[in-house]
């Protein structure tokens, strides 16, 4: 890794990253803040209960809202945060590799005495640091908001942190295949399109898989099968093994990216 390049890249990504961090943190604070009024509202769970089951599954409220944890996991981690992280990972992975090759500035980075692998590791580090920062700030904001902003409702900090670690690992894997696509592409737009296409397909398969028992098989083809925030925050999943397999697939995907990038022709 080249530290000067890493810092320069972090700086030039700073604005965009700041936007994502701000968006995610502000939103989690907001929904935690309004939680007491929803929980106190008579009949809210009845209303949810009146919805068809597939609908409830889809919006992450199979059993209604029973705790702050369920609510945060279902409403934020299962929906908006997923989309924020998807967008960030797809955009950034394309930017750190394919864009530089497409535009040609990669030539300058490779004209310094750093190997391709070293440059690519630096770029991967930028991508993963950004992801870690978004998840990290969100975790912190979530805990802070539940501690200080509202009273009478508690977030189980340990399982909340576990959920966030799994979230980070899930999106690291997504970052892994997006980075791989970015590393083999000469065309920024193409890389963006393919990464977005695959991820969206996973997302749709996930949604469709949850709709009914007939479509449940679709889940098997989606990376989001491993990602069930409500179960995760209630410690109903095998967090350790899921975490391990996500880490390994992330590692492998990035390794393959490095090898492919090292061996390929660059049209610089």
């Amino acid at each position: 890794m080249s530290l000067p390049l890493y810092l320069a890249m972090m700086k030039s990504h700073g604005k965009m990253l700041g936007g994502f961090i701000y968006g995610a943190s502000a939103y989690i604070v907001l929904i935690i803040w309004i939680y007491p009024s929803i929980a106190d509202m008579q009949g809210f769970n009845d209303m949810i209960g009146a919805l068809p089951e597939s609908m409830r599954k889809l919006i992450g409220m199979e059993n209604g809202i029973n705790s702050l944890s369920d609510y945060v996991a279902g409403e934020f981690y299962g929906m908006l945060f997923l989309i924020i992280l998807m967008v960030y990972v797809i955009l950034t992975s394309t930017r750190v590799m394919a864009r530089l090759v497409d535009q040609g500035s990669m030539a300058y980075l490779l004209a310094t005495p750093h190997s391709r692998v070293k440059i690519a590791i630096t770029q991967a580090a930028v991508l993963l640091t950004g992801l870690a920062l978004i998840v990290g700030f969100t975790t912190f904001s979530g805990i802070a908001a539940s501690e200080w902003l509202i009273e009478g409702y508690q977030l189980d900090v340990a399982s909340f942190i576990a959920l966030n670690i799994l979230t980070f690992l899930t999106f690291s894997s997504i970052a892994g295949y997006c980075f791989l696509i970015s590393s083999i592409s000469n065309d920024e737009k193409k890389a963006l399109g393919i990464s977005a296409g695959i991820t969206l397909l996973f997302y749709i398969l996930n949604m469709a898989g949850k709709l009914s028992e007939k479509t449940e098989w679709m889940l098997n083809f989606s990376i989001f099968k491993w990602y069930d925030p409500i179960k995760m925050i209630n410690n109903e999943t095998d967090a350790f093994w899921i975490g391990c397999s996500l880490s390994i697939s992330t590692f492998l995907l990035f390794m393959i990216s490095l090898i492919v990038f090292k061996k390929r022709n660059l049209p610089l």
Binding site: S12, A107, L266
Partner: protein, 295 residues
């Protein structure tokens, strides 16, 4: 210093490089000339280790350009043909990033070059004109005082004054025993700086000569306008290659017989004289004609 042996690379539609062979010795300035799409930049991409040859290989300072690309960069300065910098930086920001990546501490040489090219380095790169970017690129290639310089069309975008500054810089580096390979479309530009030149066309090296020889076969066409019909007759009677272009105007082609040409003009009253730029194809064609004749 720079060796290219049997270098071949095939692209679709019969494009690419075909069995290139040349060598640039230490302390030599090598001009690499060819029309658009001839394969100059492609060759340079191989030297920089961006592309892997299908056959053959190239090396700089004994190190293979593909396998040792990173190590070679220690002693190499590169100016890309199409310069694109990282986004969101000023010229100075970009240069100092490169310096830090090279672990280079001193800024003396850099500042000297900035001064020399009169570059306003504080300008954000996206607001820079083509020439300004070219200057940043040149400074980036020279500032770490590399032993080998690989320059792809270095003067494109520079105004005539800055082209002079650049040529002086090249001559100075030549004095310092640097090895330089530069590509160009223009024979004139190469002529002033290079010791030898390679001419590439459609991916094949069609000529590889020292500059002295190339210069001797270079044809120049002069447009001459004389005062009177008398002078005109005088000119037409000479043994030079002459083409009448209008009233009292002729094109005289000079190739190695400069002396004869000057003597002829001294006997006439010349109103106006101008050189006609010659395109590369012309130069090569005649280069070949001449070689056939010699055989």
């Amino acid at each position: 210093m720079i060796h290219v042996k049997g270098l071949s690379k095939h692209f679709s539609k019969g494009k690419g490089l075909f069995d290139l062979n040349f060598e640039v010795k230490k302390g030599e300035v090598f001009g690499y000339i060819g029309p658009n799409g001839a394969g100059k930049s492609t060759t340079i991409r191989h030297l920089m280790g961006f592309m892997k040859p299908d056959r053959g290989h190239s090396s700089i300072n004994g190190m293979d350009c593909w396998n040792n690309a990173a190590r070679i960069q220690d002693q190499t300065g590169y100016l890309p043909g199409e310069i694109v910098f990282l986004e969101g930086m000023s010229g100075l920001g970009f240069l100092s990033l490169l310096q830090k990546m090279r672990k280079q501490e001193t800024t003396k040489r850099r500042d000297e070059l900035i001064e020399r090219f009169q570059l306003d380095v504080k300008t954000p790169i996206r607001k820079m004109s083509k020439g300004m970017k070219q200057k940043v690129g040149i400074i980036a290639a020279f500032m770490h005082d590399p032993q080998v310089l690989i320059l792809d069309e270095p003067t494109s975008g520079l105004d005539p004054l800055m082209q002079r500054v650049f040529i002086d810089l090249i001559l100075e580096e030549k004095q310092n025993n640097k090895t330089i390979l530069m590509s160009s479309h223009s024979f004139q530009e190469i002529e002033r700086t290079c010791d030898s030149a390679g001419i590439i066309k459609d991916g094949k090296l069609v000529a590889l000569e020292d500059m002295y020889l190339l210069r001797s076969v270079q044809r120049r066409v002069f447009e001459v306008k004389v005062k009177s019909e008398n002078d005109m007759e005088h000119i037409l009677r000479s043994s030079l290659d002459i083409e009448v272009k209008g009233a009292r105007t002729v094109h005289v082609t000079v190739q190695g017989n400069d002396q004869e040409f000057v003597q002829l003009l001294s006997r006439c009253e010349v109103q106006h004289i101008d050189t006609r730029p010659q395109d590369l194809e012309d130069i090569f064609m005649h280069y070949y004609d001449r070689r056939e004749v010699e055989k």
